[in-house]
């Protein structure tokens, strides 16, 4: 049921899967259930998400879920990331539900985006404390 043409088409032509050289936010998350791992980099412009780049391997649902999560927040304010849910991703795929055991696959991309957003939020509050200029739109997030 979940492997209808549409989903497989997205899987074979995933969206937002590229390695961004310049970016502001970055995070990596693993699905402990299967060891799948996604990394995301986000490039911001005036508080809006200008570009999203996922890297990593995953099952059909991981790749498709990340593609859809990317679609849902691209061009939006970065805060929007926090509001997206599994239901939004299901709706965008015209699915009612998936097996509970596969929900973590479908949301790995979203979880990774959220982690990047949270790191940003924490960094901003740090910045306010330190009044440092650590984050700015034209400055890449330092590689670790």
């Amino acid at each position: 049921m979940f492997y209808r043409e549409k989903i497989l088409e997205i899987y074979k032509n995933p969206r937002h899967f590229e390695s961004l050289a310049t970016f502001n936010l970055e995070a990596e998350k693993e699905n402990p259930f299967c060891g799948d791992r996604l990394k995301v980099r986000i490039k911001l412009k005036n508080g809006l998400i200008e570009k999203i780049g996922f890297t990593g391997e995953g099952c059909v649902l991981t790749i498709v879920g990340a593609s859809m999560a990317g679609d849902l927040v691209l061009g939006q304010r970065v805060e929007k990331v926090a509001t997206i849910t599994l239901q939004d991703i299901l709706r965008s795929l015209k699915l009612q539900k998936i097996l509970p055991s596969r929900e973590k696959c479908l949301t790995l991309g979203l979880t990774t985006l959220k982690e990047a957003y949270l790191q940003n939020k924490r960094a901003i509050s740090r910045k306010e404390e330190n009044e440092s200029e650590f984050f700015s739109d034209n400055q890449g997030f330092p590689r670790r």
Binding site: M1, F2, Y3, L8, Y11, K12, F33, C34, G35, D36, E57, G58, C59, V60, L61, T62, L99, R102, C105
Partner: protein, 402 residues
């Protein structure tokens, strides 16, 4: 013959088209086992070792008869059989009630990279707490375990934990020599027989380990009942970790408890009575079929599946590639195709397989994988099911290949 075996399993009446290739996770239960459980609830129903009325006596008798049957299954005495929930609990009891009491800083716990998390995590944890070492025998190039590694480290070790059969690769480990050597050194050995018990005979006299653990639900028996065999000579070195009813004879007026004898000392609280009786019935099921029939049938399935899998392009078989010393457990890696996707497509065609790390992450990683697809067979499987599995697998792979 095999048709008749399958017809003894009511699950196939509810799901006549199901191809069940996940018996390493749990086996289905024959009707006789289900009937034995129901019979307890319908006709016995009392608690054990407590009442003086006749129903309680009958229940106790049925329960202790079950213990005798289960003991004979591994050629042990009934007093050496401790009932627990499952293999994990059995191993935890040994880790906490035996190993923890003696483990000192700098000691060495010896195991293998093939272990199920059950026979791995307890020791890892203890080693961390006590600043002891925990080392695992690695794999050889042919995908089998390097048993010689264990031989080299036996003298330094204070405990050896080892599986009889890998739940990832299906390899049957040849342990006779290592057990003999360990015996001479009085090195305590725990054998994880969870994956072996339904597929090959176990004998604690021929393979004289100190501890042996297996689960009821993997030998055509109920869930919630597991077995820990503790060799008589080791029983006084095992301390109870659960306290309560039945494990104590009395508490004196000065609050001094008088603990019960083994095995009762290690069985606090009301046991899983129905499940224990059910497990004894599962063993009767195995005995009725007989080991030669079971082994021959499963060996044929194993050889057939191996030939089919090894000729599949783009499919990597993890572990031994010859039918020698292995069970019908097959773990596959298919570059470019995710095992979870395959499992889901197989499920849509009525084939149940496992995908992921099969509770053996260290072993999966040792083979350079993150997740695999596992097909594990049992006595109710048939050649025709392997054909269907291979056909669907091929379709699914070409469907998912990018």
């Amino acid at each position: 013959m095999i048709k008749r075996i399958k017809s003894q399993f009511p699950i196939f009446k509810s799901h006549p088209k199901l191809i069940y290739f996940d018996s390493a996770a749990t086996t289905f239960k024959p009707e006789s086992v289900i009937r034995a459980i129901t019979n307890y609830y319908e006709n016995l129903g009392a608690n054990v070792h407590r009442g003086v009325y006749s129903l309680a006596e009958q229940t106790t008798l049925a329960f202790e008869k079950a213990r005798e049957k289960i003991a004979s299954f591994i050629n042990a005495s009934p007093e050496e059989i401790i009932f627990v929930r499952n293999t994990s609990e059995a191993i935890n009891l040994v880790a906490l009630g035996f190993l923890q009491k003696r483990l000192k800083k700098g000691d060495l716990i010896l195991s293998t990279i093939l272990e199920h998390h059950s026979n791995y995590l307890s020791y890892l944890q203890l080693a961390k707490e006590r600043n002891a070492s925990f080392i695992c025998a690695p794999l050889k190039k042919d995908g089998r375990l390097d048993i010689d590694f264990l031989k080299e480290h036996l003298k330094e070790a204070c405990f050896l934990a080892i599986t009889k059969v890998s739940n990832l690769t299906g390899e049957i480990l040849a342990l006779e020599e290592i057990v003999q050597k360990a015996q001479k050194l009085s090195l305590p050995i725990l054998l994880d027989a969870a994956q072996a018990a339904a597929h090959l005979p176990l004998d604690v006299k021929k393979l004289p380990v100190d501890f042996l653990a297996f689960s009821g639900h993997k030998v055509y028996g109920p869930t919630g009942i597991g077995v820990l065999y503790v060799k008589k000579e080791r029983q006084k070195e095992l301390f109870p970790i659960f306290f309560g009813g039945e494990m104590v004879i009395t508490v004196k007026k000065n609050h001094q408890p008088v603990f019960n004898q083994p095995p009762y000392r290690f069985e606090a609280g009301t046991p899983a009575i129905a499940e224990t009786i059910g497990l004894a019935e599962a063993i009767r099921f195995i005995e009725k079929l007989g080991w030669p029939t079971i082994i021959e049938h499963e060996k044929k399935l194993c050889e057939y599946m191996l030939t089919k899998l090894l000729s599949l392009e783009g499919v990597q078989l993890i572990g031994p590639k010859t039918p020698v010393s292995r069970l019908a457990i097959f773990s596959l890696a298919i570059p470019g195709v995710h095992p979870h996707d395959l499992a889901q497509l197989l499920d849509e065609k009525g084939i149940a397989v496992r995908a992921g790390q099969v509770c053996a992450a260290p072993a999966v990683h040792a083979f350079g994988q993150e997740a695999i697809l596992r097909a594990s067979l049992a006595v109710y499987n048939q050649k025709s099911e392997i054909d269907k599995f291979i056909t669907v697998l091929k379709e699914a792979i070409s469907f998912l290949k990018r």
